[in-house]
């Protein structure tokens, strides 16, 4: 393909992606919402891909970092703290409304810190142990979110935090619809564009990382840690970096999620979510950016889209299969079937991910 042709394809794709919600919103907010959430999942999958795909560290508690980012945003941009603490109330009588330029770096930083903190003791473990420890870490965070309302109410327990400020950029609020003449662009569409922009940005970061010295070091560790060490790679620091970097993505996505929903509760950060994100990365094609995006879009959109046929299924099965059960069933089946038919994912990379050919002489 010539450079001009590439540019043309790129431009068309960009226009389609940007214009898509304008058409979808004619069918109501539902489809646009699903698209925005799918973008958020792409963001999460890209972050996890750094940890699992590049560095080869299986992280089953990724949702913990997502939760850290979300709760950070929720606490600093909602009336909750001011309502429950006298000190805050004296300082911020209208509730805390920290600007996003402060909250998002804070959320990302805290998530990265949590990642490094968790990584420090556990990164020397063998792969499967790492999986189970990170899984435990995710559960620990969830238990704390569920219970930190007593004796001092920090997270508001299972009821979650609500009345969270919408995203606000240079005085432009994403929470309100904008109207141009007769044409109305609802808030979900605005969020979709925001998330799309973030995905494009992250994609650039990931792509550059992949071909950088750091990315190559990660892949070397993934293929053979001992050999990587022998080549002079500081494997410990590199793994910590991968963990921290992945966690940062999680933290930012979490903050976005909180602003988008306006409400966070521990229920959104269950193990099921972690499994979902891992499934997206692995089903799509581990360590391969187009594959990861495909996996995330597929697993995020397909089950939601199939909800529209759930009514018929529900009638057919006498109410035994409702839409949420159907969704779970489809995700589970997708995980099993895709792995059985294509163990390296739907769209695997052609060069990486393969073990070196065994040294057999012809």
């Amino acid at each position: 393909m010539t450079k001009q042709k590439q540019l043309a394809v790129f431009l068309i794709a960009a226009i389609v992606l940007i214009a898509l919600p304008l058409f979808a919103q004619q069918m109501g907010q539902g489809p646009v919402r699903i698209m925005a959430l799918a973008m958020l999942y792409v963001l999460l999958a890209l972050g996890l891909n750094i940890v699992v795909g590049y560095a080869g560290l299986l992280d089953l508690g990724y949702v913990a970092f997502y939760a850290v980012g979300a709760y950070m945003y929720a606490l600093l941009a909602s009336p909750h703290l001011a309502e429950n603490f006298e000190g805050f109330k004296a300082m911020f009588p209208n509730g805390l409304h920290t600007p996003i330029w402060l909250v998002i770096p804070l959320g990302a930083g805290l998530a990265a810190f949590a990642g490094v903190l968790l990584g420090m003791p556990v990164l020397k473990l063998r792969g499967d142990y790492l999986a189970i420890v990170t899984l435990g870490f995710g559960e620990i965070i969830r238990v704390f979110l569920n219970n930190l309302e007593h004796p001092v109410n920090i997270t508001n327990g299972p009821r979650g935090l609500d009345r969270i400020d919408p995203m606000n950029l240079f005085g432009f609020s994403f929470g309100k619809a904008i109207e141009i003449g007769d044409f109305r662009i609802p808030s979900v569409t605005l969020y979709y564009w925001l998330f799309l922009a973030l995905v494009v940005g992250s994609l650039l970061v990931c792509y550059r990382l992949e071909t950088s010295r750091i990315g190559r070091a990660w892949m070397a560790i993934r293929e053979d840690e001992i050999a990587a060490k022998a080549m002079g790679i500081n494997t410990r620091n590199m793994k910590l970096l991968a963990f921290g970097m992945g966690a940062t993505f999680g933290g930012v996505s979490g903050a976005m999620f909180a602003a988008f929903q306006g409400f966070v509760s521990p229920e959104s950060f269950s193990l099921m979510e972690s499994v979902m994100i891992v499934a997206m990365v692995v089903v799509g094609g581990i360590g391969h950016l187009p594959g990861v995006i495909l996996g995330a879009l597929l697993l995020a959109i397909l089950p939601e889209a199939l909800r529209y046929v759930a009514g018929d299924v529900q009638n057919l099965t006498g109410g035994r299969i409702d839409s949420s059960i159907l969704r779970q069933l489809l995700i589970a089946l997708a995980m099993v079937v895709v792995m059985l038919l294509r163990p390296r994912g739907l769209w695997p990379s052609s060069e990486h991910g393969k073990a070196a050919p065994s040294p057999v002489t012809k």
């Binding site: 556990v122 063998r126 840690e225």
Partner: protein, 307 residues
């Protein structure tokens, strides 16, 4: 002091259930290096099957213990068949695939079983009937119920039988050989596929028994009941050193004790700041500590990291 002994009893009961499930994890991991995430769901299926059998026969006027005795073998057969087919369908084709692939199918299987259970048995929690009603036995302060006595006794018998099976029989020797080195074992006339199937069947039988114990002890069954015990049992297996049968038992009982004692005293020790609902995180904190200080588990051998 009474509280202390009471918590020890509770911990032992909890720990023996963990141990039974942990054995299933550790045997499978020892042989094919796979975390069988669906194992906790096998426990759930065992409990729900037994619930179905018991509630179907409840009107027949048979005494409770007869119902229990009837339901145990039925659950064992159902779970064994289930685990056997899971291995055959979902794990066997992936034996030489990239390491993450079977792990993902295992997680998918776990989710699939939970969802199917939700469809078959409906999502609501169901009360498990009290089959052996009795006054709890007073041990001079702490009390123990008949069901708890039975759990402890049955666990001891099962463990003894399993030790005999693994250490004294031909199948056990084949299992140990396959765990050590499947290729060499195959050269010696062991059929690895057969041994792996047998391992899954034995593990499922243990999980089925543990599931019925769980249901009888806590009195409720639900499609999601298998997840947390499964997770903690795996923790127990790692705690004791994965792949090591004695380690799984030690790890399970230790974990049960830590959890029960922790839950009993946490509120008191921290002046009511942290309550017993934090009990669930003990398992994970213990796991992180053990793995940091002794990565191969309490009884595990030091294994070189495989590239």
């Amino acid at each position: 002091m009474d509280i202390f002994f009471q918590q020890i009893i509770n911990g032992l009961v909890l720990g023996s259930m963990y141990a039974l499930v942990a054995l299933g994890y550790t045997m499978v991991y020892g042989i094919i290096n796979l975390i069988n995430f669906a194992h906790g769901e096998v426990l759930m299926v065992g409990a729900l099957t037994s619930w179905t059998v018991v509630s179907a026969l409840e009107g027949s006027g048979l005494p409770g213990w007869v119902l229990l005795v009837i339901s145990i073998p039925i659950s064992i057969v159902v779970c064994s068949a289930l685990n056997f087919s899971i291995e055959k369908v979902a794990y066997r084709p992936l034996r030489n695939a990239p390491r993450l692939a079977p792990l993902i199918t295992a997680m998918g299987m776990s989710l699939l079983l939970q969802t199917l259970a939700m469809i078959v048995w409906k999502p609501n929690p169901k009360p498990y009937p009290i089959l052996i009603a009795s006054e709890p036995i007073n041990l001079g302060g702490p009390v123990i119920s008949i069901v708890q006595c039975l759990i402890l006794g049955l666990t001891a018998v099962i463990l003894a039988a399993l030790m005999y099976l693994v250490n004294r029989t031909k199948l056990g020797r084949a299992m140990r050989a396959t765990a050590e080195n499947p290729r060499v074992a195959a050269l010696m006339g062991v059929k690895p596929d057969m041994v792996i199937s047998a391992t899954f069947i034995i593990g499922a039988a243990l999980a089925a028994v543990a599931g019925i114990m769980w249901a009888a002890n806590y009195g409720t069954v639900q499609h999601s009941m298998g997840f947390l015990p499964g997770l903690k049992a795996f923790t127990a297996a790692v705690l004791g050193g994965i792949g090591n049968l004695a380690g799984a038992v030690v790890g399970g009982i230790l974990l049960g004790l830590v959890e029960a004692i922790g839950a009993g005293y946490l509120g008191e020790l921290t002046g009511g700041v942290l309550g017993s609902h934090y009990a669930d995180i003990f398992a994970f904190i213990a796991l992180i500590l053990v793995l940091t200080l002794r990565p191969s588990g309490l009884l595990g051998e030091r294994v070189a990291d495989r590239a």
